[in-house]
């Protein structure tokens, strides 16, 4: 039937409740029977805050416990859990502890309070493997970049992927590497013109991946253009286009340039105009000890596979979607007629003079004018670009400098999936499925600051907040997100 939602003061309801409580009490008071032989004996060591096994561990040893000074030991939460399961018998001062006593005695520490234990127990009962979080086991972004963990796990399958320059650095401490990151963030912005906003990795990591590549490249590759990350389309909405405009540093100086634009010709490097003959560059443009020479690339072109690229269906669809709103500036015949920058700029100036729309003075003759110039908005995408003034931010931006904060929120547990039990190795657990922060239901949600700290601390493992409310546990996560741009209507 329907649930009773509120007390209605009836005798019937009171009787139902009484019977329920009685049943529950009976259940709880039932004596648990275990074979004495299979019960592992363990002793609580308050000085060390751990439990020492007095007889050999059972099956639980696969996922719980640790060895110290030759003895098998358990953490308080593990011991308490096993006690509740009926797998161990806990002794203190030679007397067995009741469950109530065990709760009282084992859970009076900073690291393992009652709410923490409740979360631990909840997850264990569902089959997860739960270990305490240890910050030193988290790989830095750089180390992750090198795929260090998979190298540790597998038998050197990834050896070949390791960069030459990275081997001495593999043991570098986290904080040292993090100093590189702020710099990397700066420079990568310039390089990140093609970077799509919905990419998974933050730009600083991408830049780091280039450094080793370049040192590897040696003489062969001349270009150092970063390869844009293609995270693939997940759906029909497109990620944002390249925000070239935003990344241009507005260099203030309007000094006279030393270039004579009327004589500089824009080379046509379209696919139908193979640029195989490259003249020798002007010596004034080259660094001192670098000689330039003429190149005729015809020989090489002949050896390149010039077969028409066959696009996958996904790529074709993407191209078709993009063609709806993206236009090449060269599609304009008048633009093609311009043979140098000067002509092109003159064309733009001429077009802006042909404004048709009237500009009311109360909007336009002011210090602050509207963002949109309708004559410059040639497409919906261009319009959106003109009005996009707010910068996106990633959850990890600025997170590294928050790490020195002693007040920062702590991660409590590493949680591994139940399916991973068979392959689980205590000595090398690997990357957890999720990390837990235990908090109280009445607390304020973490500030953005605290969230960044915790996300950074966790490396690339997602963080979940476990909220305890008198025995009930709810789990929430606050995840980084970038709303995709919707231009295809």
């Amino acid at each position: 039937g329907q649930k009773d939602f509120i007390p209605d003061g009836s005798a019937e309801q009171a009787e139902k409740l009484r019977r329920c409580r009685e049943e529950q009490w009976q259940l709880l008071s039932e004596e648990r029977v275990e074979r004495l032989r299979s019960l592992v004996k363990a002793e609580w060591k308050p000085g060390q805050g751990i439990v020492e096994l007095q007889s050999p561990a059972g099956k639980f040893w696969h996922t719980m416990g640790f060895t110290e000074r030759g003895k098998q030991c358990l953490l308080p939460e593990e011991a308490l859990y096993l006690l509740e399961c009926g797998s161990v018998q806990l002794f203190y001062r030679d007397l067995p502890l009741s469950i109530q006593e065990a709760y009282e005695i084992l859970l009076c520490q900073e690291a393992m309070s009652l709410p923490h234990y409740q979360v631990f127990s909840h997850l264990k009962q569902l089959g997860y493997i739960v270990l305490r979080f240890d910050p030193s086991t988290v790989l830095s972004p750089y180390e992750r970049q090198l795929n260090l963990e998979s190298h540790c796990q597998s038998s050197g399958k990834h050896h070949r992927k390791r960069r030459r320059s990275s081997s001495p650095r593999s043991h570098e401490k986290k904080h040292k590497v993090s100093e590189d990151l702020p710099e990397a963030e700066e420079t990568s912005k310039k390089a990140g013109d093609d970077c799509q906003d919905s990419s998974c990795l933050p730009t600083d990591e991408k830049h780091l991946s280039e450094q080793p590549k370049e040192s590897d490249a040696g003489s062969g590759k001349g270009e150092s253009n970063p390869v844009p990350l293609d995270t693939g389309q997940k759906d029909s909405l497109s990620p944002s286009w390249s925000r070239v405009g935003d990344h241009e540093e507005s260099s203030a100086g309007t000094h006279a340039s030393r270039w004579d634009f009327s004589t500089i010709i824009l080379p046509n490097v379209a696919p139908d105009q193979p640029c195989t003959h490259l003249p020798s560059p002007d010596n004034g443009l080259l660094p001192e000890n670098v000689p330039g020479r003429e190149v005729n690339a015809t020989y090489w072109c002949a050896r390149i596979n010039q077969k028409q690229e066959k696009l996958s269906r996904k790529e074709r669809e993407q191209r078709e979607r993009e063609s709806r709103y993206k236009t090449s500036v060269n599609a304009d015949r008048e633009v093609r007629r311009c043979s140098n920058w000067q002509e092109y700029k003159a064309l733009l100036a001429q077009r802006s003079r042909q404004r048709v729309w009237r500009r009311p003075p109360h909007l336009w003759d002011q210090a602050v004018t509207p963002l949109l110039r309708p004559d410059e908005a040639t497409s919906q995408a261009a319009l959106l670009q003109q009005i996009s003034v707010l910068q996106p931010s990633h959850i990890l931006d600025g997170a590294s400098r928050l790490q020195e904060d002693p007040e920062s929120m702590k991660i409590d547990f590493n949680v591994y999936q139940a399916d991973a039990v068979a392959k689980f190795k205590k000595t090398n657990p690997g990357k957890p499925y999720v990390r837990m922060c235990v908090r109280s239901f009445d607390e304020q949600i973490p500030s953005l600051r605290a969230l960044k700290q915790v996300t950074y601390q966790s490396g690339d493992v997602p963080v979940v907040f476990a909220l305890v409310d008198h025995g009930e546990i709810a789990f929430y996560s606050l995840k980084e997100f970038k709303l995709p741009v919707d231009v295809n209507h």
Binding site: T369, P370, L451, L478, L483
Partner: protein
């Protein structure tokens, strides 16, 4: 660190609208129209029907003050409309009783304006007399097109419309034919009885204190009538354009009335039966008490149209306001305007349509393309923080309240999003007093999701 996966919004099963454009701005700038709005009682209102259409159809800005969302208010009775489907000529169909109410209301308005009962009755009788349907076919079309240019019997009428609008800018509920002071053929019927009304109308405009009175009376009927509180239009722009014909033209309605049968006592029972059956017919009359529906823009929508697109001018009284002034005024009216505006602007610049999130306890609801096409996908709370990523929150949430909010959001098939606007800690008040401060502000989006410990075991869900 896992990123939240984007879940594409669900398309609505039945879509009754066609999509026009994401913004009321023509790409290329050739056909650029600047709409007008006014600030009335701290609200931004758009009155011009064409502006209303433009702003709502292209981007779903605003809300009709008498409708749920799209301004579709009509006095037409839906059951009558279906009943008389064949006869419908784009005019509202109302019951006779309702029409009488309108007449009564018009009567009391005229009485308030000081007319004596005799004149009132005369004016109304004249105004509300039945009209010939064939004539109306032309007028019916008038409703839909800008007919002020059309030749024909309406010409003088509509010329007057234009003339009087530029002169006085005031309109009384009765047709604009009344607002003339020199045209003999003022209206079709050529009834000079309208003069008194006209005189009264223009007098009201001259006396500024009377304007307040008119405002008061206007408030009573809630923008229902074009009383004297309507601000003078910016005539520069309008002089060469066609003036809103919809507003100054009279509204024609079809009134369902009973045919008058002379009840003659007959011996023949059959005749008696006939007399009992009242035949109904539709009579076309003018509506003496028009109800105008205006479009109300939220402060964020209004500011966006002005600042980001430059396609709206907002007037306070007579003067159009500059962008800086609007930024200042809106911040005063709504204490956290800057924060909510920045979030609004951000989502608009991503091509999504943000609407007010009041119903869900948040700041914004994000729609893809527009409310008629997709269900809202995200329910957003905006917060402003400094670059230590802390700040005094508008909505400090405990986990308890967050979980409640998340529950109601998820029940409505939406995702809860927190939008943090990060400003440099050294940003001064002065810098924030201009919307240009947005160029230095960064946006961090977060999605709140509940993790279910037991389910995660069986499904390899996105974690």
């Amino acid at each position: 660190m896992a990123e939240a996966v984007f879940h594409p919004p669900r398309r609505k099963r039945r879509v009754f609208e066609s999509y026009e454009s994401p913004f009321p701005v023509d790409v290329g700038g050739k056909d650029f129209r600047i709409c007008q709005a006014e600030i009335i009682n701290n609200n931004v209102i758009v009155r011009n029907p064409e502006d209303i259409e433009q702003l709502y159809n292209k981007g779903y800005f605003g809300k009709g003050i008498l409708s749920r969302s799209r301004p579709v208010y009509s006095i037409s009775d839906p059951s009558l409309a279906t009943k008389w489907q064949g006869a419908n000529m784009n005019m509202p169909i109302i019951t006779s009783k309702k029409y009488q109410c309108h007449v009564q209301w018009a009567k009391s308005i005229l009485q308030e304006q000081g007319f004596d009962d005799c004149s009132v009755t005369k004016i109304l009788e004249n105004y509300t007399k039945p009209l010939e349907l064939p004539f109306l076919e032309e007028d019916g079309a008038e409703q839909t097109s800008n007919s002020c240019n059309r030749m024909g019997p309406n010409t003088e009428n509509t010329e007057l419309c234009r003339q009087s609008s530029t002169d006085t800018g005031n309109a009384v509920a009765l047709s604009c034919e009344s607002r003339n002071e020199g045209y003999k053929k003022a209206c079709l019927e050529g009834d000079p009885a309208f003069y008194p009304v006209a005189v009264c109308g223009s007098k009201e405009q001259e006396q500024s204190d009377l304007k307040e009175r008119a405002e008061v009376s206007c408030q009573k009927c809630g923008f229902l009538m074009q009383c004297g509180c309507k601000a003078k239009e910016n005539t520069e722009q309008r002089s060469s354009e066609v003036i809103k014909s919809k507003e100054c033209a009279p509204e024609y309605v079809l009134v369902q009335e009973e045919e008058e049968n002379d009840l003659r006592p007959e011996d023949d029972s059959a005749h008696v039966q006939e007399n009992l059956v009242k035949k109904e017919k539709l009579v076309c009359r003018r509506n003496p008490f028009r109800i105008f529906e205006y479009l109300q823009l939220t402060l964020e929508e209004a500011f966006f149209l002005v600042y980001a697109l430059g396609c709206l001018s907002i007037y306070y009284g007579e003067a159009p306001l500059t962008i800086l002034k609007l930024w200042e005024i809106f911040s005063e009216v709504k204490p956290n305007f800057k924060t909510t505006y920045m979030a609004y602007h951000y989502f608009r610049s991503k091509g999504w349509v943000p609407k007010v999130g009041l119903k869900y306890g948040t700041d914004l609801l994000l729609y893809r393309k527009g409310p008629p096409f997709y269900h809202a996908s995200y329910s957003v709370i905006a917060e402003l923080v400094d670059d230590n990523f802390e700040g005094s929150l508008r909505r400090p949430l405990s986990w308890k309240s967050l979980s409640g909010l998340n529950r109601t959001t998820v029940n409505a098939s939406k995702e809860l999003m927190l939008c943090y606007l990060i400003r440099p800690s050294d940003m001064t008040e002065k810098e924030m007093s201009t919307p240009e401060c947005m160029k230095k502000i960064k946006v961090q989006e977060l999605i709140v999701s509940r993790w279910v410990s037991s389910r995660e075991r069986s499904e390899q869900d996105e974690f």
